[in-house]
């Protein structure tokens, strides 16, 4: 067991489901510590399958997975991996309170009788505070809204204090404020050295907080630093015809005339601007100022977004 390896590696992973579907073919990916890596791809591209392989929920036909130098089962037993699911298969009538769910995150560290220690209860309190749900600790889980439920599962993941955090579509069904809060939390964890892999098809927020991007289309087409990988050409490769492009010519945007443009996109983001092939991000307040700074001789603005 090599304790010095501080990265997550998938090497040539292939997964074939029972009905013959090739979910993943020779997928390879390496994510170092202190990184937030986005898994970007259309529905059905294999993002969830990659997670399931890392969690031991499916067995790859070929290839190997190394989680901080350990094999999957060892890493799970040591509590190195935590998973924040899309939370769709839960029975919300189940008699557990919010704090009970978060406490479950501590179970791997408890004894056989699973009696929580003072430290466990303390960690639960702190995790709930980090997602701002302390006031709902005694509520039954089904009483919460969709966004709140997602935060509870995130709190559970935080309580696990795992080095590797896998999040499966954490922003679906979640309002903008919650999304921003989650992003802040993830950045904080990243700064502490955790490895965070986020699967998302919400492209707008990717450049804002993800250091690296992996493009998924039944394999890993490319991966690397966001600045290098996350561009129009590669997104077109990943999403194919699903992508929509907008180009602004000189005639539309003239930085001398003080006109402002607002783009309303379907992922609740007010505006996405790009400069020189590099996607940037701002809210409505900042856009006019950015527009005026633009040099008309640079490349055109590209606004790429995913369309279902």
């Amino acid at each position: 067991m090599n304790g010095h390896i501080t990265e997550v590696e998938f090497y040539n992973i292939s997964v074939i489901y029972n009905n013959g579907t090739h979910a993943l073919v020779n997928a390879s990916l390496r994510v170092p510590s202190g990184t937030i890596c986005a898994l970007v791809g259309a529905n059905g591209s294999g993002k969830s399958t990659l997670f399931k392989a890392a969690l031991g929920l499916v067995t790859p036909h070929s290839g190997r997975i190394s989680l901080l130098g350990r094999r999957v089962q060892e890493a799970l037993k040591e509590g190195l991996v935590s998973y924040v699911p899309q939370a769709e298969e839960i029975d919300w009538n189940f008699p557990v309170l919010v704090e009970d769910v978060v406490l479950m995150g501590r179970y791997a560290k408890m004894n056989m009788l699973k009696i929580p220690s003072t430290k466990d209860l303390q960690v639960v309190k702190e995790s709930l505070a980090k997602v701002e749900l302390q006031h709902l600790a005694k509520r039954q889980i089904g009483e919460l809204s969709g966004g709140q439920k997602k935060r509870v599962f995130l709190a559970r993941s935080l309580a696990q204090e795992a080095k590797i955090i896998l999040l499966d579509e954490p922003f679906t069904g979640v309002d903008v404020n919650t999304e921003l809060k989650i992003i802040e939390l993830l950045k904080d964890l990243r700064n502490k050295g955790h490895i965070i892999i986020v699967s998302t098809h919400n492209l707008g927020s990717v450049p804002e907080f993800c250091d690296e991007v992996a493009l998924v289309k039944n394999s890993i087409l490319k991966y690397g630093k966001t600045e290098e990988i996350f561009n129009e050409k590669n997104l077109a490769l990943t999403f194919g015809d699903a992508l929509r492009h907008f180009r602004f010519e000189h005639s539309t945007v003239d930085n001398q005339d003080g006109k402002s443009i607002m783009l309303i996109t379907d992922d609740e983001r007010p505006l996405v601007l790009g400069r020189g092939g590099h996607l940037e991000y701002s809210d409505t307040k900042g856009k006019e100022h950015l527009l005026k700074d633009r040099h008309p001789t640079n490349e055109d603005n590209n606004d790429s977004k995913n369309k279902k």
């Binding site: 292939s14 013959g20 090739h22 073919v25 020779n26 997928a27 390879s28 009538n93 289309k217 039944n218 394999s219 890993i220 087409l221 490319k222 991966y223």
Partner: protein, 279 residues
């Protein structure tokens, strides 16, 4: 005696016909519940001196309606509701029978006995079967849509509440009829197994109906016949035969599926180069 056997065959056909709808709707265990819930009706009918079928039908329907009501009003799951309702109804029946002495043999109600079928029973079964078939003749397409996709049924203007109650009523009536032949414990088998067997062999509903009713008829007739040699364990013989047909159908269909799966896998040759990574 031949009449008793033929009557059993008729019950078999009716149950098998209904069983296609029931398995499609996912009401298999509802059938179980109903068949047990009719017992207090039989007991009350005996004490109050009116025909067993009516008593059984009424409590059966009452049970079914209570299940639907509780489902709407509580967070309990369907199977739990079924369990609570049918055990309570059955307990009421047993309770009454234990307090007030009666000539009803609990065993006959629970296990059935073709040897004990009287002419009046045959009459009742004929009436119930005809009414059931009449309803089906006029409503089977609607019932099919309702069973397959109740939400869609509502959007095309079908009165789903009426269909729901109708199906429950038909189920109760058929359960009551089957009670005579196979008893409360095995009615559910006649309402599930033929439909399940047919479902394994075909995915076309009309074919399913045909296969199911044919199997239902043969297993009932031969089962009733064999039960003479088994001291009247009619229900047991009929259901055993049905189970044998089921097992045969299971292995036949799974063999067929394996063959076609192999063909699919051989044809799906995805070359990994076209999806390879570019780093």
């Amino acid at each position: 005696m031949i009449r008793a056997i033929l009557m059993t065959g008729l019950i078999g056909i009716t149950c098998a016909f209904l069983s296609c709808f029931i398995t499609l709707k996912g009401w298999s265990l509802m059938g179980d519940a109903l068949s047990h819930s009719v017992v207090p009706g039989v007991a009350l009918a005996y004490y109050l001196k009116f025909p067993f079928s009516i008593g059984a039908f009424l409590t059966g329907l009452l049970a079914a309606l209570s299940m639907s009501l509780i489902k709407v009003k509580s967070k309990l799951k369907e199977d739990a509701i079924i369990g609570i309702v049918f055990t309570t109804f059955l307990a009421i029946g047993i309770f009454l029978l234990s307090i007030f002495p009666s000539q009803i043999q609990i065993q006959t109600i629970v296990l059935g006995n073709v040897l004990s079928i009287s002419d009046m029973d045959i009459q009742q079964v004929l009436i119930i079967s005809s009414i059931t078939f009449c309803f089906f003749l006029f409503q089977w397409k609607n019932l099919l849509v309702f069973c397959f996709d109740p939400i869609f049924a509502r959007t095309v203007g079908l009165n789903t509440i009426f269909l729901h109650v109708l199906l429950l009523a038909l189920l109760s009536a058929t359960a009551v009829a089957a009670l005579k032949a196979v008893g409360a414990c095995l009615v559910v088998a006649m309402l599930i197994t033929p439909g399940a067997t047919a479902y394994l062999l075909t995915k076309q509903f009309s074919k399913m109906l045909f296969i199911s009713t044919t199997l239902g008829f043969f297993s009932s007739v031969f089962g009733a016949y064999f039960s003479f040699f088994f001291d009247g364990a009619t229900g047991g013989c009929i259901v055993l035969l049905q189970s044998c047909f089921f097992i045969i159908a299971l292995y036949y269909s799974s063999h067929k599926n394996k063959k076609s799966q192999k063909i699919i896998l051989e044809n799906s040759n995805i070359s990994s180069e076209s999806l390879g990574p570019t780093l």
